[in-house]
Amino acid sequence: MRFNQFRLGVTLFLCLMALSCSSKNFTHSQALTIAGSTSVQPFAEKLAEIYMDINPKLIINVQGGGSTAGIKACREKVAQIGTSSRELHPNEGDLTKIIIAKDGIAVIVHPQNPVNDISIEQLRGIFSGKIRSWSRLGWVDKPIYFVNREEGSGTRDAFESLVMKKGEISDEALVQDSNGSVREIIANNPQAIGYISFGILNHQVKALAVNSVIPNLTTIKNNQYTLTRPFIFVLPSQPTPLASQFVDFVLSQEGQQILEKEGLVGFQ
Amino acid sequence: MYGQEFSLQSISLAIPKSQITGIMGPSNSGKTTLLRILNRLTDLIPDILIRGQVLLDGVDILMPHYNVNLLRARVGMVFAKPIPLPRSIYENLTFGPRMHGVKDRRILDERVEQSLQAAILWDEVKDRLFESALKLSGGQQQRLCIARTLAMQSEVILLDEPTSGLDPISTAKIEEALRNLKKDYTIILVSNNTKQIARISDRVAFFLMGDLIEYGPPDMLFTNPSDKRTEDYVSGRFG
């Protein structure tokens, strides 16, 4: 309330402004921001955690936001590395794409659901709203609740092109905006079905065999399991040295081992 | 308090130094407005129009560039209702001097004691200077307000019905204080209480409906008024 406190406030404000100028340079030289796909985020965070242990001075911020946002962030230099769980679109050709791993898309149901196997056609039928009852899959006559990802999601993009071909997903679908929240819904509803990244599959839900192939590291690696998509790092045409070094680490044997341990399949 | 169309008209008064000038008149006669012009508290009223001159030591205080804050430091004001600020007694008294740059603790202490003595309050509060001023009784609060003006070492003290809400004993104390003060200060007292004016004023002005009706020594106004209206008023026929 006192006038000198007011003066103190002004001084603080000026300091803050000065800090902002100096700190901007700081951000560019010492910190790395990785943003994009929520499917890639947990793996990027794990990689970053270990990489920061090796290079204690480095700061890596990992953000979600989604594949498209990551690509955009990379282009707008908000992030040095963008991550994507879908292929780049033709109009995104100005960026460098690096495949870091391959991921399966697991079709999941509640553990109590007796259905174990599903064909691509049945899956398409369910998501286009034509198959509406579990009796069509050999269970009781109860409605099927299918959970979709939101428009723009890389996982959805991949699912649409691998499963739906030209068909559209019905607008009756429940929509969630991350793998985790899809998994949560399925884990709590015996009549629900959905799809998530194989990498974050856990005991709460049951993965179905698709066309009689169970998703696991081997079937994904040798392409027997057909619902797979790449995990991509996106870099501007002239990446910062820090970004390049981090990408090198991810592609090294050590980095790839970390990813395999977490449930992804190496890029080779 | 300030009607839209109300105005004071053609007033000319010479206020003597070191005396108590009493101003009386029924309510709405313009007493308070006149008082507020004298230290330019009227500046707070939007769209007020004041014409004329108020000379203090020969300088017109109504001139736009006149330093109002210095004026108000020289011309202190005590309001009808005692209004201590919500702080301690000590802080109430030192508030003004501090705001005008007096920082020396010894000078401040001195002024607190002197002004409280002059307002005949010192003996009652000397042991609790740092307690809240709001805990004092109404009469004490009003004397504190007088002391607050004194602590500014002002030259003129304007009092706007200072005893209107007080009991006779408190009123007597304040009147005693004013009598003691008049040798060092020029005092202008507005009051509804004609008896009070008669008791302590050296000169009296009578206002009615914004006009100055009569101005002179109390003996003249109270015993031998030249105007019928004054006579009616002092004899209690209206007011």
Binding site: M1, G9, L12, F13, L16, L19, S20, S23, K24, F26, T27, A31, T33, A35, P42, E45, K46, I59, I60, N61, V62, Q63, E76, V78, A79, S178, N179, G180, S181, R183, E184, A187 | N39, L41, L44, V68, N69, L70, L71, R72, R74, G76, M77, F79, K81, I83, L85, P86, S88, F95, G96, M99, H100, S132, A133, L134, C145, R148, T149, M152
Partner: protein, 279 residues
């Protein structure tokens, strides 16, 4: 049709109203107690003082507490002077008129803007246009736009409630306008102003939509305001929604509700303390 005796019908209605009120208050207590029962057992000093590990599956919530504090600090740093300045202008420097009407309308409307729209706005302005990225600074600035109306309104109300006589006393002692405001009016209005600020802190603690868009959700311990950070509420949202760890989610929720409780209670205590000081 039978007409009910008015006294009897009053009794029935009164009982019904008390039942409804009781159940409403019951819901409130249920929510708080439910969160505490599930969450308080998770709390420990380690939970508060260590950083989250493995996306928050283990470890504590220190980084999110620090981010929350940063964000509130930044938001108040900008919103308080702006809000207080506006309130002072409205009460002391101008008369009711077209300008005050416009300003009041702006304040009211800003108060009604959904946080998601503020989030969109902050994202495009601070994150993209100013190039600050997802950062505590971007988040704090956007948040300050959200707090501004609250602070303006509460400050204005409490300044208005300061008796006009105090100002006259100060003026009559030859104190200038600005000094009168800072030395007499604001101290007297302080209880209300502080309460407004404290309650706006409670609001920032619970906010999520604005913050995800502008401050991001990085779990790292923030070392400067130019880094992204994840606040408690955002952390809770992600933990619960992604099903990362329910015990951690309940623990975080308990901290959140506890904080809101403490903030609210301390707002009332400060107010009462400040009001009692000299009266």
């Amino acid at each position: 049709m039978m007409r009910l005796n008015p006294i009897l019908s009053q009794k029935i209605i009164k009982t019904l109203l008390w039942i409804l009120t009781g159940s409403t208050i019951g819901i409130l207590f249920f929510i708080i107690i439910y969160i505490f029962i599930k969450g308080l057992p998770q709390l420990s000093w380690t939970f508060l003082s260590t950083n989250p590990v493995d996306m928050g599956r283990s470890g504590g919530i220190l980084a999110t507490i620090v981010s929350t504090v940063y964000l509130i600090g930044i938001a108040l740093f900008f919103a308080t002077p702006l809000g207080l300045g506006t309130a002072i202008y409205l009460t002391e420097y101008t008369r009711e008129g077209l300008i005050t009407k416009i300003i009041r309308f702006g304040t009211e409307s800003l108060a009604g803007i959904p946080s998601i729209i503020l989030g969109l706005f902050g994202f495009a302005i601070f994150v993209i246009a100013f190039g600050w990225g997802w950062s505590l600074l971007s988040g704090g600035l956007t948040l300050s736009a959200m707090l501004l109306p609250t602070i303006i309104r509460t400050s204005e109300e409490s300044i208005l409630s300061v008796p006009q006589e105090y100002r006259e006393v100060a003026f009559s002692l030859g104190v200038g306008k600005w000094k009168t405001i800072t030395r007499v009016v604001l101290p007297a209005a302080l209880p209300g102003i502080v309460t407004g600020i404290v309650l706006s802190i409670a609001r920032s603690v619970g906010e999520t939509a604005v913050i995800i868009f502008t401050a991001g959700s990085s779990l790292r311990f923030p070392s400067s305001i130019f880094e992204s950070g994840r606040t408690l509420a955002v952390h809770f949202y992600i933990l619960a929604r992604e099903g990362i760890s329910m015990p951690m989610a309940y623990g975080t929720a308990a901290i959140l509700v506890l904080l809101i409780l403490i903030i609210n209670i301390s707002a009332y205590m400060t107010m009462r303390f400040l009001m009692k000081r000299y009266s």
